[in-house]
């Protein structure tokens, strides 16, 4: 499975991180254009494509593939 965050939309609110049962998400150190730390998947292997992060995301920034 592949979880990707579109930095353009992400505001680093962290709701996806809280939502992930596998704890494979984290905020990046870098800032995006809007000055937010975007979320990213730090461990794609363990992503189960359960889409919980997608469901939680207020900004439609997440894509899940498998």
């Amino acid at each position: 499975p592949k979880m990707t965050v579109d930095e353009f939309y992400c505001k680093g609110c962290g709701l996806c991180i809280e939502a992930c049962p596998k704890n494979v998400l984290a905020l990046a150190d870098r800032l995006n254009a809007q000055g937010y730390h975007p979320a990213e998947c730090i461990d794609q292997e363990n992503c189960t494509a359960c889409t919980m992060c997608y469901v939680a995301c207020p900004d439609g920034a997440i894509t899940i593939e498998k």
Binding site: F8, C13, E18, A19, T51, A56, C57, P58, D59, G60
Partner: protein, 253 residues
Amino acid sequence: MKTVARRPQGLTDVRLTYCPGCLHGVAHRLIGEAMEELGIIQRTIGIAPVGCAVFAYNFFNCDMIQVPHGRAPAVATGMKRSRPECVVFTYQGDGDLAAIGTAETVHAANRNEKIAVFFINNAVYGMTGGQMAPTTLPGMKATTAPYGRDVEDTGFPMRVCELLSTLELPYYIERVSLLSPKEIIKAKKAVKKALTYQKEGKGFTFVEMISTCPTNWGMDPLKSRDWARENMLPIFPLGLFKDRGKADGEKKG
């Protein structure tokens, strides 16, 4: 590899202007998903309120209009009655719908106008900077209730679903919350049902969504969801208040 979840076609590719973690975004996505799944994007007209969602005309991928504060249900009435072939929905905050828009809300419901109303209850006036809303909780601080809402002076939080449920004809009324993935999945069902009934031309459908306002509540997104669960849900109980579709179904079956 196939895509199992992505930004829905019901939303444009414009970045939302809401604050980080604001659940307006979730409500938007659910409506966007439902429009896509029902294949009605091309024949839906959305109505943006005055409130933080005033910019919604940039976000929903259907025809959109921005209207006077609180009057969305009246505007929707004028639209639906001139374009019956369209699905018409309003998207309104608690100040817009339950304060200045009270008469328009009650009468559109009472006429059972064939429109969907999505009511985002965040217990505060977000856009204007955190004033008290009709839904502000007892004791809750707001810029116009600096000492906390005094129920004796300004009344008790308005429960709109309960109010509208006393009317004879509204077709579908439900209150859901957006405070966790689980709740969001439930909320999605309600949103989709509201729009499905519109597609079928049934009648007035109303979905209240318990939401948050991290900025004006002065909390981070996570904390604000917990706060809403602890403080709002007891006063705004979730649940189905009216579903004449179901009733009809039962009658049939």
